[in-house]
Every structure is written in structure tokens, then in C-alpha cells.
Amino acid sequence: MASLESSIRALLRHSDQVKVILEASVVSPAAATPVPSSDSRSQIDEARNKRILAVVSHSDGPNTQEEGSVFILKFKSAGRAFGQSDILRVYPVFGDFSITMAQVKRETLDLRRGSQASPSLLNLTIKQGDIQGLDPLTLCTQQVQTLRDVLAECKRLKELADAPPSSAVAPPLTTFSWLAPYTSKRAPLPALFSIPQDLRVARKALHIRLSTAFAGEAGDDFSDILRIRDDWIRTRVRETCSMGKHALKVRIGTFNVNGNLPSQDLSSWVGGSSSQTPSSGFIAPLKELSPLSISEVAKDPFDDSNAPTKSESTLGKKDPVDTNTDTTEDPDLLVLGFQELDLSTEALLYATSTFKEEAWCTAIFAALGAKAELYEKLASKQLVGLLLVVIVKKALKPCFSDIKSCVAGTGIMGLMGNKGGTSIRMKFTPPTMANALEKLENPGSTVLTFVNAHLAAFDEMVEKRNADFHDLAKRLQFDLGAVAPEGGGAAVPLTCNVFESDVLFWMVNLNYRLDVPDPDVRTILGSEDWAEDRFETLLRYDQLKSAVRANKAFDMFDEGPITHLPTYRFNAGLLKDDLGYDFKRRPAWTDRVLFASNAFAPIQQLSYAGHPQIKQSDHRPVSAEFTVEVDRFDQSAAETAADKLYRQLHRLEDAHEDTNARVNLKIMNTSVDLGKVSYGKTVTKQVGIRNIGRVPCAYRLVPIDVESSVHPDWLKVEPMTALLLPDELVYITLTASIDNDSASRLNIDHTALDCTLILHTVMGKDHFIAVTGEYVPTCFANKLSRLTLLPGPIRSLKSPSELLAEDRSINAPREIMRLVNWMMGPDLNLENVFVSPADPSVVDTIRECLDTGADFPFSPSAKDDLGAVPIAFGETLLRLLDSLPEPLVPVALHARCAEMASRDEAFEMLDAFPAVAVNVWISVTAFLHFVCQSSADPEVKTRKIAGVFTPILLRDAANLVSPVGRRNFLLYFIQS
């Protein structure tokens, strides 16, 4: 009984109480005589007729009137799954409500089973004539005593309802409105399960998706509350229902084959045996599979009906997906995208031949070698030269369902298939674990979508590429088949786009190029000077990365770090450079693998590689491996949980007319003192917020007006929006941290760190949270010209009036000179300076000494075998130079610096520098020269130091000036 009661309580909201529970069975009006359970009827019928009657009461608070209702529930499935019950009917106790009891008339003697001991059967009839469409119901039960309790409780509630309103007790807030969430079908929650939320929405923080609001202008509270509610339910459903993760391993490949047929071994691309990881050869290690699984799979690979059992027996024990991310294991899914499969004009017009697809698929399976046995093709989709192939481990094939595909052309006339995309969408349901404690009755699935796209070519077509992306995003639509609406009516076709997915991969010949002069690209790629940071340098000029930064295209995608050579354009003939790149085309990373997923299916990238040994095309193929952590959950349990959570939120959207009474948040501390806040350190404080109202309530932080931001740039506030159930307490975390931008402003303003946060209760009042703090100035993030006017350490500066007069400024900032002088001290191990990572606490100590003027607590002559202290000094110097609001070499001079062709020219260039910059430049480069020359390998050291210092001393945020020229300018000063 206890479990029955608790399961019913689980269906109810916190404000509603179960008073009495009665087990009964339904009596059809035709057969007035109920059939007792001892009858010969089957157990199934008995279960079907079984009902639970529950008397439930509700009260808004201690001083408000109680209301009651009779709930009739039915178990969804036979057995003890109490959680899975449905509320069939609700009879509110008021007005014409009645409940009557009657002895069941026995027309025949029941002699079958000890009729003497046979318990008396009672019929009860419930009526509520005030509500149309709510028919009377007759049930029969053997629980006589409980039935008496039911009647007594109903009588009590009826009397309460009938009583004239008394002055002592406040009338209920809304008569019987508390029943709404039980009686109405769930309000249209967006398809929580059938179609995942669009990733472009899901990947944006909730508070960014809310309406525009500011102090005194609430915005669209009603639509905000729906967004907050849906997000809350979605997150909590997964939290409560997730039964662990399943790691799905996916290998993605993209290859522009330039119209060629396969002529080379593709094993490094498809099988992971690239030159970088020679250990994982493509010849399958058979011992990884149990003999059982192979024989079973081989026997009947297409028999889906047996498959679940098979996957249970084979996958549970040894399958990599259950033992988490082991990079040497084979991928579960192999998804390969080809571009320019067919360059002929006929293909453009007819595009019917599958000859090329077959040829490439054969080549893929050949490349898999012995492992080919383990795989089979699951799906493919072609559009002219674009082909997307999904290959799956045979053992996992039954886990994939609802496979859909679509295409869209963006080529000639914006429609032809010479450019465009093909896409495949599928549901993945994790295999049952062999050691699973309970079997999921209705396992939930995760939607995976793969897009193979080929965007507009040529360097200057970047805008067209961005447009192609948005065009494809719109036009790639899957037809999910016709769906009949729940309430009946004509079936409507249901479509969804590629972003309506839990996991999305784009493998693309994006054709995005590098916005850097051609000779620079080749120099950086080819010259040994650039060996250390060539990719990092070049990728700053990558058009795809700029488009993402500027939110022009692909801005919701992630991409792993690129550590392979550009994959385009190679020339087999004579017109090529030393690396094999075509002279006429600027080398670029045109072939990329991008990914995005929602919070329920985090993706981890394991590898990202080019395959230069496959030389048959003008592009090189690219592969990338991922682990997708897929949720294991039960679909029915998730739906039940969503229903229950939805009920908890009843009246959330209900209250704006009567603000004070119901929506009420209490801010536990309306003023927050951060204390001293200094550069490079974070201060964290918490503000407690409790819902002291009677209904669920949401808050969001709003700015003071449209132009302002919610909080100053040095402060982070988390969470910016949240939903609180009655009596719930949440904490907002305020984190103050001063970066270079805010420090450069605060150092001059000397303002106190004061601000007021405006916390808007959705559909309620605004609360103010006053934040105060004291800024501790630093020598970091000051202009050079200001540092040279400081009369002493920056902390001792009381007011700007103490700054030195312009004509009495010092030659160079004493902070920079102190660092350089210390490092020039005798017997220091400078071998690892600027190369090895520094101890952050030592860096903090050094900076503190610069700010206060205190002596460094380190002796330069101290024995320091690893050079840890000098490394920290080097790091401090780097960071100090990097924190300058203007780079040491003024941006306006970069172009001229980059053109200097000799050391003499470079030294002459210094005449154009501001005086203070010359002094610092000379001191720093002289020191760097010293470090390089005293190194064991001066050449390597010089290269490394140039790589580290060029982006700092000649910082070029806009990436306008040749990286090679800027670097050469620095080299004139530090090379011997």
C-alpha cells in the first residue's frame, strides 16, 4: 500500500495531498453485476478493469480554504509499475458532486470458493452533474473500510465547499484551478522527445533567447516564461531519467576526389592507420572480437528480429562502446563524404548512375581489409558529385532506425547539384547492456545527422560560401512522413531540418581559403623557421574561422585543432612548390569536419588528420574521430517525468495580475561587497534567492536600458535566469575578475567597482542587488606613456595629480626594466625561458612586487637547476608586454616594419617609433638576443622566441600585415 500511495503522490504536485486510496474495478453499465476477481476471467481482464480511486485535497496555504477532488486512475501496464499510471477522470467535490454506495445484488449463489468467507462486494457511483461531459462512474470494491473513509472524506470536503465563505479563512485563489494540470492534456510543450530542439537554439544560453527587457520595461514575460519552463523541463527530464551514458565512436571522412575513380589504397583514411598512428594498423586484430559474435553475425547479418539478443550477448561484454573511449578500438560508425565524384556535364543533368558510388564503396571496404567483415553499408545519398556513405558495425546495425536522407543543390542557378549538400539523419538507440539491472521497456534514442556539403569555390567567393551555408541550412529538410495529430484529423506531413538533431556533423569541402599573401603561405608552410607555429599563424587568416568569429556562418559549430598541412591544392605535374602545392592556387584547409551537439550528447574529438599519402586527387582526404556520449534512458519514463514536472509548474504563467500575493522572491543579501579586487585574481560571492511565494517563479537579470549590458565586463553572473519552485533556494554566483581591457580602463578611472544588478521577477517586481568592491591598481594594462609618468610604484599613486609632468617622464617603464635587469643577472639558467610553462603563483608574486615596488623575494644567484624562477620572470615580461593597450610597435607602423629588407633599414625604422617604445624595444630585443646567443642551440632558440614575441610586440588584431614581414623585422634585432 505504501508503494501505491507513494506512486500516486509522485503523480501529484507538492501542494496536493492524497487523503484516501481505494482499489476498485470498473463496472460497465450494461453488466450491473460485477465480476469478482475469483472468477474464471483471465488475469489480463482483471488488470484492465482495475482502477484506483484517490481522494486528493489541495490548499494554497495555511489560511486558505481546502478543496478536494476524486481522481480515478488506471495503471498503464499490468504489474507493479505504479509510476506508470494515468489519471482517467477527475471529479471536483463541489456543487452537484455526489458519491453513493450500494450493496451488490447477488442473483445467484456463488459457491465456487467458500462463499461463506466471500467478502462483501460494494458498488459506488460518483456523479458530478455540474461538469458537462463528465459521466457518472460506477466502481465496485471489496475494501469496505476504506470505502467508508472515502465517503467520510468526500462528505467533509463537500461540506467545506458548500459552506458560506467565512471571514476567518481566505477563499481559494482560483476555484479548482489546481485541477487544470490533471484534467487538460499537457499544454503544447514543444516536441520534447520526437524531434530534438534546433541546435542553433539549444546551443545558445537561455537568457540570450529571452525577450528584450530592461529596468521598467519587462519585455514579453509571457513568452519568456514558456521558454524558461521548457528549458527547465527538458533539462530535468534528462537529469532524472538518464541511466548512464553510452559511448558511440564515430569516424568521419571527407574527400574531394576531383572526378577520379579510386586508384590508391584508402586504408589510412578509412581505417585510422595514418602515418601519425602507425600502431593501429588496418589489418583487424581479430582477437578483439569473440569468435561467438563473428559466427553469429556472419550467419545472418540481416535478421533484425534476432539482433537485439545478439547485441546483448556480444556487445555487453567486449564492445568498445561500453568500455568507453579507447582510441585503438574500431569506430562504430564510419561516415564518409565525397565531393566531385563525377565532374561530367551529363552527371549534372541526369545523375542517375550509381557506378561511381559502387566503385568508391568497394574501395572503402577493400581499405578496411580484414575488418571489412565487421561492417556493412547502412545508408548512402548522392547528389551529382556529392556522395555521403554511412557504414556501420554489423553488430550495431539494429540500433539504428528511422534513417532519412535529403539533398539540396546550390550550384549553377543556385539549384544545380555541382555544389550543395546531401544529408542523412538517423536515430540511435544504445544497445542493452548485458549487466543492466533492469531492461528498458521503451529505450529512448538520440538523433544523429550528417551533412556532406560542397560550397562555392575561389578565394574571393567567401560571401557566396557564407550564403551557401545559410541556403543549405534552410533547404536541407527531411521528410519524416505523415503524422496524425493527437486529437484526430487529417495527417500532416512532418519535416525537420538538419539542426533539429541531438548530434550534427558537417563534413565539408567548404572551400574556405586563407586571407594571407600567397608567398607568405608557402614560406610559413615550407620554411623550417616556422616549424613550431606555422599552423597557428596561418589559421589566424582562415576564412572559415573569421566567418565563425563574425557570426556569418557555422557559428554554432565546433572544430578540433588543426595539426595537419593544408589539404588543397596539390598538383601532380611540374607547376608545384616543394611541398607539392599548385603554384596557381593558394594552399588552404578547404576540407573540414565540424560538429555540434546539445547538452545531452557531448562530443569529444579524438583525432583530426589529413592523409597526404593518398595523392590521387588535387585535395587530400581528411579524417576525424569522435566519441559521442549518448544518453541511455527510457522514453516512457521520460514522458512520465515530463508530465510530472509540468504539473509542478502549474500556475507559473498565471499570476501577473496579482503580483504581490503569489510571485514573490526574496533576495537574501541585497548588497554584496566583493572586497579588494585585483588584476588576475578572481573574487567570488554568492547571493541566495528564495521563492517565498506560493507558485513557481522565474527570474532573469535585465540591463538598466537597451544600450547597457546586464553587468559590467569585469563581473560574471551565473545563472542569469532560473526557475524556482515554491520554497526553493538557489544561489547566484558573482565572479569578479579583471582582464586587460577592464584593467586598462580602471587603472585610469580609479573608480570603485560599484554596480547595481537588476533582477526581474518574471511577471513580478524588479529587485536590486548592489555590488561594491575596491579595485587594486596594477602596472599591467597601462599605456607605456602612462607608466613612464609614474613617480613610483603604481600602488603608491594616490591621485592622478601626482603623475610626473610630461617633460620629466622617465626613459622607460621601471617595471619592464626591473624584469629585464633581474633576468640579466649572473648565473641564471635561461635555457627554458619563454618556452616552458611558468608557475602561476610565482608570476603573481612577481607582478605584486612590480605593483608595490617591493623587492623580489628571489635571489638572482640562487641555485635553480630547472630555471623555474627565470621562467616565471620571462612569463611576467611576456604578459606585461601583451597587456599594453597598444602593442609596443604602434599598429600604424607595422606595414612599414614588414617591408624592411635589411638590418640597417630595420634600425633606421626605429626613428619612427615613439621615444619610450624605442627604449623598451632596444632593451627587450637586446635581452632576447642575449637569451638566444647563450642558448645551447641559438638557431632553434631564436626561431622559438621569434614565434612567441612577434604576435606580442607587433600585435595585429586585424590580421592585416604579412606575418612573415613582421617576424623578419623582429629577427633583425635578435639574430646574430
Partner: protein, 207 residues
């Protein structure tokens, strides 16, 4: 059908003069002896029916009186059609503060704003520091409405709001009946009406 108008009203004044209490009395006819200081701004509504059956709905912003939140006040009085500036008759300093608020409103708020100066806590007449004559004279000079009220006893409260309702330019088209239009529409309707009310002369009908 009676005409309905909607106006934004803001309450300003020194901390602890009784702004929130005055609203509580007006909106709910209640009074708490101990009210926590408002740290923020609360939004409430109340309607007043005039003799000619015209219904005036006030959207009231009750603001924080503490000095440290003064910079936020303009956010709440922008677009306001009327303002009630409160002082406490037992403290002359609060009248000084009220003068500051009135000067600020005259300078920065909508030029057509109707301002009422209100001396609250009239039940504490024994401790009076501000005479009726002094306040009245100032109000006349500045062209303000003036009254004394007691949120505690209720004296003068509904009268001042009714007086404001009468003084507001009831020339804007009545807000269309939105009953049954659903809450979402009702919410959007509030915004439309706000604009309409802010520019009484303009045709704001969006039908």
C-alpha cells in the same frame, strides 16, 4: 460600454515616507505596520471608475527610495503619465527630497506628466513638521496637485488617485476590450496601450 484608459504612474520620494504602504492601501486596502524597505521596483495595477463610468487603469511602479538606487529611477519614470511624489509630514527633510524629485521630473520626464505632491502619515499630525500651508503653497507655485494622505488609516488615498485620474487627458481612444483574448495577447496589449497612453493625442488604434 464604458470607456477604459490606461496610464503609467510612478511613485517617488525619500526612503520610508510610505510609498509601498500607499500603494498597498490603494491596491488592496491593506496596511502593514512593519514593511521591509523596497529594494527594487514593484509593478501593480488598480482601476478607478469615475462618475461618468469611465474606467482608468493605473499601472503603478513603486520604486526604491534609498539614495543609492536614485540613478535607476529614470528607468521607471520614463514614459510615465503621472507621478506621485511623497513626503512624510513628520519630517521636513522629506519635503526637501520631494522638491528634488519634482525638479528632476520637470527637467527629465515627459513634459505632459501630471505630478501630485502627497504628504503622507497624516495620522501622525501630532508630530507634524511640515505645515499644510507650506506644502500647499509650494504645490501651487509649481502647478502640482497636492493632498495629505494616511496609508495607515486610508484617509485621502483613493481620493488622490481619483483626482489624478480626472486630471489626466481622457482623450485617447479607449483601450479595446481584450477580455478572452488570452494572456499572451493581453500582455502584448499592455505594451500597445502603454504607447497609446503615452501619446494621448495620437491615433493608437491598431485594429
Amino acid at each position: 460600454m464604458s470607456k477604459q484608459f490606461q496610464f503609467k504612474l510612478v511613485l517617488l520620494g525619500e526612503s520610508a515616507v510610505g510609498k509601498s504602504s500607499l500603494v498597498l492601501r490603494f491596491v488592496k486596502d491593506q496596511f502593514d505596520d512593519y514593511r521591509e524597505s523596497t529594494i527594487g521596483a514593484a509593478f501593480l495595477t488598480q482601476t478607478v471608475t469615475l462618475e461618468d463610468q469611465t474606467v482608468v487603469k493605473f499601472e503603478i511602479w513603486d520604486t526604491a527610495g534609498q539614495e543609492r538606487y536614485k540613478s535607476l529611477a529614470p528607468m521607471y519614470y520614463r514614459n510615465a503619465n503621472c507621478a506621485v511624489v511623497l513626503y512624510d509630514i513628520t519630517s521636513s527633510a522629506t519635503l526637501e527630497k520631494a522638491r528634488t524629485w519634482i525638479r528632476e521630473l520637470q527637467r527629465q520626464a515627459d513634459p505632459s506628466i501630471v505630478i501630485a505632491l502627497c504628504g503622507n502619515k497624516s495620522d501622525l499630525a501630532a508630530r507634524r513638521q511640515v505645515t499644510e500651508e507650506e506644502a500647499k503653497k509650494y504645490a501651487e507655485e509649481e502647478g502640482l496637485m497636492w493632498a495629505e494622505t494616511s496609508a495607515k488609516s486610508g484617509e485621502g488615498v483613493s481620493e488622490i488617485f481619483t483626482a489624478i485620474a480626472k486630471k489626466l487627458p481622457l482623450t485617447a481612444p479607449p483601450s479595446s476590450s481584450r477580455a478572452g483574448a488570452g494572456r499572451a495577447a493581453g500582455r502584448a496589449g499592455v505594451d500597445l496601450n502603454k504607447q497609446a497612453a503615452a501619446q494621448p493625442g495620437q491615433e493608437a488604434c491598431n485594429c
